[in-house]
């Protein structure tokens, strides 16, 4: 029997229904990225294993990094948290100074932000000294904000560890002025506990004892002995290390931005601190006595006191003229009687209130140049006096 289906119907039956449109295949890079993102964003056994390994490795790197050997070497440049981290830079410079072969005479500056701002970068002072003395000196800026006398013992002790009888001369310049009077024994001991600087030192411990305190225990393991410093600097240092981004120091960072009117509260606080502690200034002089005695145990080292620049506006506002004049006189007498240099750089540079950014910090530029020049001239005098055998 013949097929009853017509040829037209057969042809219609052959035509398949149109396929439903499916999802378009992803571009190859989209699917690759998708696969990577799934691995990166979802928890997995593999990710956990590497998490544990990475955490352990990071801790090991942290322990390796925070050792005096590492910090004084090439990797130590990653220590400072930022260009403003004066404590990190001072720690690094002191450790580095203790390790390297000394080929040049050194001028080591100790003091607060006031001294740092007055001198600016060590390179500027080095150039001025070269111009005035014809000698290449290395300037080590070991200043830190609110630097306590105890910090100074630690910094200079460690920085001069490699000073030998045949080493080139070192001049240690310590900022001294009205502000120093605020460092009573109690205040010094309070800050000594904070371990803002990553250094431990026998001299500092002895100083803490001399002030009636008890030095923090030491076991000779850097991260433990300097735990607070490591915690403060650790994360930034490791991040800088991994990203290969060392910070560049800005020494004169305290006069950046717009000049603002002085704060009455701050002025009163500073003035009150100076007035309260002026009668007890023997404590500050005794600290210098002990520092001089410690430095006398190292060869070719001279100690000088440099006057910390303080705005005349602050002195007038707080009526500190009499205290200022008396302290300057006593400092000069003390220095002369103890064979210590006293360089009244601020007075000699004839700075006026207009030369200051605020009460404690001079402006960047020609004001600093004047102070550097006076400092360099004093150094010339010191060298000339020593050459002629007259001592300080």
């Amino acid at each position: 029997m013949a097929d009853p289906v017509s040829p037209a119907a057969k042809a219609r039956a052959k035509v398949k229904p149109a396929a439903k449109p499916g999802p378009k295949p992803l571009a190859w890079w989209r699917s690759d990225l998708d696969a990577f993102w799934q691995g990166f964003s979802q928890p997995s056994a593999l990710a956990f294993a590497f998490f544990c390994g990475s955490a352990v490795l990071s801790l090991v790197v942290c322990l390796w990094f925070f050792s005096e050997t590492t910090l004084s070497g090439w990797y130590g440049r990653f220590l400072p948290r930022s260009g403003l981290d004066a404590e990190g830079f001072a720690t690094r410079v002191a450790l580095q100074s203790a390790q390297e072969d000394v080929a040049f005479p050194r001028l080591i500056l100790l003091g607060t932000s006031t001294v740092a701002q007055a001198v600016g970068s060590g390179a500027g002072l080095e150039a001025t000294i070269r111009e005035k003395t014809g000698q290449d000196w290395r300037v080590l800026v070991l200043t830190t904000p609110l630097q306590s006398p105890a910090d100074q013992f630690a910094l200079i002790d460690r920085a001069l560890e490699n000073q030998q009888p045949d080493s080139p001369r070192v001049v240690v310049a310590v900022g001294f002025g009205l502000q120093r009077l605020r460092w009573s024994a109690d205040q010094t001991l309070k800050y000594a506990i904070e371990r803002r600087i990553g250094l431990r030192s026998d001299w500092e411990d002895a100083e803490v004892r001399a002030l009636g305190g008890k030095p923090l225990p030491r076991i000779g393991f850097y991260p433990w002995d300097n735990m607070q410093f490591v915690l403060v600097n650790g994360s930034e240092a490791l991040l800088r290390l991994v990203l290969n981004r060392p910070a560049t120091r800005i020494v004169d960072q305290y006069a950046i931005g717009r000049k603002s009117p002085p704060s009455d509260v701050l002025r009163d606080l500073i003035g009150q601190g100076i007035r309260d502690n002026f009668p007890d200034r023997a404590t500050s002089f005794a600290q210098i006595d002990r520092l001089a005695a410690d430095l006398a145990t190292r060869s070719n080292v001279d100690l000088v006191l440099i006057e910390e620049p303080l705005s005349p506006a602050l002195i007038m506002d707080q009526k500190l003229e009499r205290i200022h004049d008396q302290l300057s006189r006593e400092l000069a007498e003390y220095a002369a009687s103890h064979g210590i240099g006293y360089w009244p750089v601020s007075t000699e540079a004839q700075l006026t209130a207009a030369d200051y950014f605020d009460d404690l910090h001079v402006l960047v530029g020609k004001e600093q140049d004047r102070l550097r020049l006076v400092l360099a001239l004093h150094l010339v005098q010191l060298l000339a006096a020593q050459e002629s055998g007259n001592g300080n």
Binding site: D32, A55, P145
Partner: protein, 52 residues
């Protein structure tokens, strides 16, 4: 029930790389975060968070 499309060998490798990077990054960051939290909780320095 939806089934996942089979992935290629290359995509499997990329997923592994992603997992490795995730582990490495988190392991590193947890150490940094630990130190930050410890310094914050202990108030170890009045200077750390003052404009730095």
């Amino acid at each position: 029930m939806a089934t996942e499309a089979p992935i290629t060998r290359r995509q499997r490798r990329l997923r592994q790389i992603g997992a490795v990077l995730q582990g490495l990054a988190l392991g590193f960051l947890i150490v940094l975060a630990g130190m930050e939290l410890a310094s914050l909780a202990g108030g170890v320095s009045p200077f750390k968070y003052q404009g730095f």
